[in-house]
Amino acid sequence: MTPRWILPALTALAFVAQSISAHAATIQITMENLAVLPPEASAKIGDTVEWINKDIVAHTATARNGDWDVMLPPNKTGTLVLKKAGTVDYYCRFHPNMKAVLKIEP
């Protein structure tokens, strides 16, 4: 038997989650044929970056300053919630010829 309070509590939680995500944007960046598109993207703290790997090989999105390292298996998507402002150069550890920039505003 489910306690009576559980449903309103879940509804409230869902509402809170929704209002948070309404402020934060999701920025999509595609990796295809070893190219990063767009090679320069802008975002704000709290936004989510979604890298979509369309290649048959794995890539990474690795910040040169060491802030983050996101693994991107073949034909999969990897996400990152931005926590720090700054202009971050990033590359793929497996294919260092893949380079891009992410501008994170406060």
Partner: protein, 174 residues
């Protein structure tokens, strides 16, 4: 040191091109498919040898990347030739590549520790350079099927990535 590596790379490049040139006319699609597939198999074998021998974390990670990527590309190549009903055809370039690779494997097999790591990575730089050069100047321009050409072009970008990655590992080994 730099000169030794450079000359090794040049030797590898000229071996590749002279073998291909020996055939006279440009390679056919079935031959190109065979050469590209063979080039991948060679690098997978070299990586497997390295995985057995190395104690360096970085060299090990590099070798694992090579196995994973070249297997993925070769699987794609096999799927494509099946779809196109092309039968890969053995040829002088493939044979020369395999022969050179077998010699290199035996040579590296005698080395140990840091000497092995250095020789393996230096050869990876030279080998990827040679394959990239062959893809760019011969295989891609000669390929007539657009899907095969496309796969070779993607392969070239992946292998150029490996070349840069190998150069980084080589710099770190010093």
């Amino acid at each position: 040191m730099m000169f030794v590596r450079l000359s090794a790379a040049i030797a590898a490049v000229s071996l590749l091109s002279s073998a291909a040139l020996a055939q006279g006319a440009k390679p056919t699609d079935p031959q190109i498919a065979h050469i590209a597939y063979t080039a991948g198999v060679i690098d997978i074998k070299a990586a497997k040898q390295a995985l057995n021998k190395t104690r360096s974390k970085e060299v090990k990670a590099f070798a694992q990347d090579m196995v994973r990527d070249h297997e993925a590309v070769n699987k794609q190549a096999l799927d494509l030739v099946k779809k196109l009903k092309v039968k890969p055809e053995d040829n002088d370039t493939s044979r020369t590549l395999s022969k050179n690779a077998a010699d290199k494997l035996a040579e590296l097999g005698k080395l140990k520790g840091a000497a092995f790591d250095k020789a393996y990575i230096d050869n990876e730089v030279a080998y990827h350079k040679a394959v990239d050069n062959a893809l760019e100047t011969q295989l891609i321009p000669s390929a007539s099927n657009p899907e095969l050409k496309n796969l070779l072009q993607t392969g070239l970008k992946i292998f150029q990535g490996h070349e840069q990655h190998a150069e980084q590992v080589a710099a770190n080994l010093k």
